[in-house]
């Protein structure tokens, strides 16, 4: 079965510091897409960043960047200059053809 694993149920970071959330996945496909979604407390889930597997260059969106290691099937999210508003559940996901899979999530706490 194709799966997504987020090995850190909870993470904590000091405001203005950098934190990295881990994600690994298991697939035999070579063409797929990877996503990080953010779900703030009691608020809507929103897309943070996405990456095409055929692109070697890591995606970046302002303070959010990924470290995509295709051979290792790893897709970690780095948040730089963490802000209080970054506190949320973060879900890693991949899409292969019509199949979308999510990890169990990592709860990020940001300390002032």
């Amino acid at each position: 079965a194709q799966t997504v694993t987020q090995s850190q149920p909870e993470m904590s970071v000091q405001e203005a510091e950098t934190v990295t959330l881990s994600c690994t996945y298991d697939t035999s496909e070579s063409d797929y897409y990877l996503f990080w979604y953010k779900q703030p407390p009691s608020r809507q889930m929103i897309l943070v960043i996405r990456q095409e597997a055929y692109k070697q260059q890591n995606a970046t969106e302002n303070r959010f960047s990924v470290n995509f290691q295709k051979a290792a099937k790893s897709f970690s999210l780095k948040i730089s200059d963490s802000q209080l508003g970054d506190a949320a559940m973060y879900f890693c996901a991949y899409r292969i053809n019509n199949d979308m899979r999510f990890g169990a999530g990592t709860r990020l706490t940001v300390k002032p």
């Binding site: 897409y33 996503f35 929103i46 996405r50 979308m100 999510f102 169990a104």
Partner: protein, 114 residues
Amino acid sequence: DVKVTQSSRYLVKRTGEKVFLECVQDMDHENMFWYRQDPGLGLRLIYFSYDVKMKEKGDIPEGYSVSREKKERFSLILESASTNQTSMYLCASSLRQGGIETQYFGPGTRLLVL
């Protein structure tokens, strides 16, 4: 901006009741999805639809059905609610841009079955 709305944020129902969860998107997306979200399990796909009147089972369809009579609306139906269906239900619709199909989520419906 894409807008995906769900009819209720919170819902309390009794065991055996028939429950309807409604989802509407306003961006003419072809694809719509229903997930349930449980702690430690992430999101699990219940059903999805790639066109009007079309539906496909996801990973956990048992105890659920869906209806898509109009493109913008995708309904999830619990025929006879049970306590193990207490969960957060998320609807999503998707758009393909630049070769990537990205899902946009509604605010969720937290369902409690007593």
